[in-house]
Symmetry: C2
Subunit: 390 residues, 2 copies
Amino acid sequence: MEEWNQSANLALDIGGTLIKMVYFSSTDNCSADSQENRSLEESNDISDDLEICLIGKGRLHFVKFETTNINDCLDFISSNQLSTHGDLPDEKQHSAGDRNLIKATGGGAFKFADLFMERLGLNLDKVDEMDCLVAGANFLLKAINQEAFTYMNGHKKYLQIDHNDMYPYLLVNIGSGVSMIKVEGDEKFERVSGTSVGGGTFWGLGKLLTNCKSFDELLKLSQEGNNRVIDMLVGDIYGGLDYSKIGLSSTTIASSFGKAISENKELEDYRPEDVARSLLRMISNNIGQISYLNALRFGLKRIFFGGFFIRGHEFTMDTISVAVDFWSKGEAKAMFLRHEGFLGALGAYTSYQKKNSGELISHQLIEQLPNGVQCTGDDQCRGLPADPKS
Amino acid sequence: MEEWNQSANLALDIGGTLIKMVYFSSTDNCSADSQENRSLEESNDISDDLEICLIGKGRLHFVKFETTNINDCLDFISSNQLSTHGDLPDEKQHSAGDRNLIKATGGGAFKFADLFMERLGLNLDKVDEMDCLVAGANFLLKAINQEAFTYMNGHKKYLQIDHNDMYPYLLVNIGSGVSMIKVEGDEKFERVSGTSVGGGTFWGLGKLLTNCKSFDELLKLSQEGNNRVIDMLVGDIYGGLDYSKIGLSSTTIASSFGKAISENKELEDYRPEDVARSLLRMISNNIGQISYLNALRFGLKRIFFGGFFIRGHEFTMDTISVAVDFWSKGEAKAMFLRHEGFLGALGAYTSYQKKNSGELISHQLIEQLPNGVQCTGDDQCRGLPADPKS
């Protein structure tokens, strides 16, 4: 255990709702069946399937905590001594004086700085949130194979991103709120828009409207719901007809939650499943629409969606994809990222390096996919069905 | 009473939530103190302050009903014989065969056509919803003085619209859902966007979240609320600090309803006032933002907001204005219409005329403002404080 701890290092993204952590272990050396030091990973918060292997160096792990339970995060760092003997894959950049310095981004890096110092004697080295989101996304797009994918009608399609033709794109990070960033190059970007209707709205309103105790429970509920019970459709207004002159079918949602008006029903008369579904659809749709309008404004054909709102949830991705497709009349594409929730934390992690993150780390990378297929950052996955390039 | 009824005529806009009615009375001849035949107007649904006088002809009245209570509307028409001896200001256009034909727009013109025939023997002559919204807005902007105004920081400012420089503009009609229409000329327009997050969402979600029995009650509640109790502000995430690098102050809403996540509170632990306020702000903000993005897309500097969502509510107008101002960095202006809720019904009413509504009726118009000031369509208001042009 001691050896594992000594070779660990971490970065944090402390948001309004969740704390996202990336930590490194050098002894966990990416052999497919390596089970050593996995005791840590019994926690539900650890995402095994997202781990990234750095060839011959070790492994990046991904963990999340709720910000309200920040003590769990502090305990996790403390009990596993994740930072005290911090040590990075590229050993030379960490001087003794840096030992108690942790790269951290998100508002919580400011809000909880004193707490980290008091409890663990750790200095949070604050890194700008937008810088981190972009660095994290660029790192993933450059270094990780099968990172980006489209999702439509239940069909997931991995994308081969040409590193020479990656920019420009719109990065939409859906956390508690939503940031929209026009990315034009490795360090050339601008936050062009955002919306307060995001993951926090889904969970917050969802918590008030249902008896859900967690975001994931709410997402699960929504899978079993039928939004037509509560949403007012075009057909509800037009007596079952389309409003075809302006291209609205009878099943288009005219007014989210609009049916809750017209019936003598109270909240408890609705199934929580239907409420959750309507809410998820309203928010996903809205984000998709505003994202598209911003992409259009800057002539960006690619929109990458990240942030912990999505959680790989199929209906969410489907709704966002349909919204982008509908509003752009097929011109723009919604794309998703496998490590969606950890863009900021990864960006903070790569900021330990002086050089550009993607360039630096990508040559060291080997990724362990859930099915055991080994991927390097620059090549096709070995072990996958034959591909012309492999 | 008989004479009054014989000179009445009406048009309807039957939406998902509300039925808007415009009816005409020829004997109610616009003298400032004319109180004859006002028995009808004891109903709360009649908006006295919106009445429009047609010089030497009579008066246009505005009434609304809830779509779920459509029988109230039918009873109103029936008991006042509003249509049976219908008679328009320009008498020649109504042939005997048209007597049982009522111009109607909105989805309900389709949905309830049979009901009108069965109950009253009336044929609903369906007019396209977008056509009516635009015709209604153009009529108002051309014919009614002091129709359009801006609202910001509690200050209402009436606008003098130059009829030769009216176009193009974006018309945003906020009913149950929201339609956004690019208007380039009298009959040249296109519905370019919309959103399902509209008045129906406010009322529907508001009804589920509070014990409100009506939209107006919910609006009133929101006036007394504090959204900061439930919304997650930038300062809540950043420990009270601004995120100044990207221009977000600590009081900017980062996540609507986002604070409902982080506390061990249930719905009943929140004041309905605060919930209503947060909801209203979320929706008004969102509509303002999407409207601006669409105005930007087509290079439209003026955005007129109509529809029954607004109801002249100051906080709603203020939020929409601030959103448009914020996102456009002061480039675009939100404008409101005094007869906001009746665009479609007015458009349907003017469609009785073959010629362009605004051109035709504007020369006949004299408007009775609530304070008794008499206005004609083309001139400044007489009796207002001295103005260089009057």
